[in-house]
Symmetry: C2
Subunit: 211 residues, 2 copies
């Protein structure tokens, strides 16, 4: 009993340290960008040595993979406020817009999710599957918008939506799109273009686009 408690306490401390490192890393990234995430700086902030990152994550690559998973999980944090919306169409639109808001609010977290190979990190197949799974609420809402839609079709349309959302957001973050209102229109219109193409009922007046 005492032994079990001690073991459990050790496991908890391990988890606590892991969580502390992850949150500190996320904070560093939010504050000074992904390039500022250094093992020494991270360790100093949590008051441990850099070795802790190796025992817990196996190195910086493992740390980045954990941050990758956390960043995708963060996408779902918006869901609670949105699931209350009755209309599936409005809910789908809200989910899509929250995706963009998330990316614009935490561009460096988004960079972890879609950053290139310069970081030396490439997510594992399992992590990529996890990333895809975070689109489940959106796929579910999508099927509510078009009853009778097969799961395969929903998957395909979801990928199309994801691609267009990511495309607009990615170009916007790199300032390859004009201004904010241009990106607003672009996001809504490409979204509605894809939904219309796949015959997903979507009232056009839902998206207020000045033409």
């Amino acid at each position: 009993m005492a032994v079990f408690d001690a073991r459990q306490q050790r496991a908890e401390m391990r988890q606590d340290l892991r969580a502390a490192l992850l949150s500190a890393a996320a904070r560093i990234i939010s504050e000074d960008g992904l390039g500022a995430l250094t093992l020494r700086r991270l360790a100093e902030r949590v008051n441990v040595s850099t070795k802790a990152v190796y025992t817990l994550f196996g190195g910086k690559e493992g740390l980045l993979e954990a941050l990758y998973l956390d960043a995708f999980d963060g996408l779902e944090v918006f869901a609670p406020e949105i699931t209350a919306i009755a209309s599936p169409q409005e809910r789908l639109l809200a989910l899509a817009r929250s995706y963009r808001t998330y990316a614009l609010d935490w561009p460096d977290r988004y960079a972890v999710m879609f950053g290139d190979a310069a970081t030396g990190f490439s997510p594992s197949a399992e992590s990529r599957r996890h990333a895809w799974n975070t689109t489940r609420p959106m796929r579910h809402t999508l099927m509510e918008c078009k009853p009778g839609m097969s799961a395969e079709e929903a998957d395909f349309v979801m990928r199309a939506m994801w691609a267009t959302m990511h495309g607009v957001v990615s170009l916007e973050l790199r300032q390859l799109i004009g201004g904010r209102e241009m990106a607003d229109r672009l996001f809504d219109e490409t979204l509605i273009a894809v939904l219309n193409h796949f015959a997903v009922p979507f009232p056009a007046d839902l998206v207020k686009v000045p033409r």
Copy 2:
């Protein structure tokens, strides 16, 4: 005269060294990825010291900016073979597909164009304008597809196309899309969805999409 020749020869050697560094850098990136591009390795391959990169580019960031511009210029290399196509619609489709081919053939060059801030490099406003200018042939073809289209509208539709193309290609490169044939369909269908949405005449049977 002899003075001018000598000066010209010096300038030429400068340009030669600059070109040699750029091509060697591109080769290193193609061979071992963007993370393998090191000033020491680059200098060794061209048989100069790392200082040459500083006098010619001002540092690694300047080198990356030059590679950024070159990578976008590489997009237009496909144009000559494509401009021969008579039908504007088929030409537009060919241009779009060549964009994807370019990205899939040189993923690391594409990473330089759209890589995140982890490299510590962010293109200047002028470089971004140059990047946008490489879409000119596509915009021109777009206007041929829909006579009477204003330049502003063409710009907007071009941005929508770019976003969807980049979105699909980006997810594909990160293996966030199923297989090759899935990405094939996704690319063509999102493209046609956008063009249809903006009322660009585009024969549906031009894109062979098994439904």
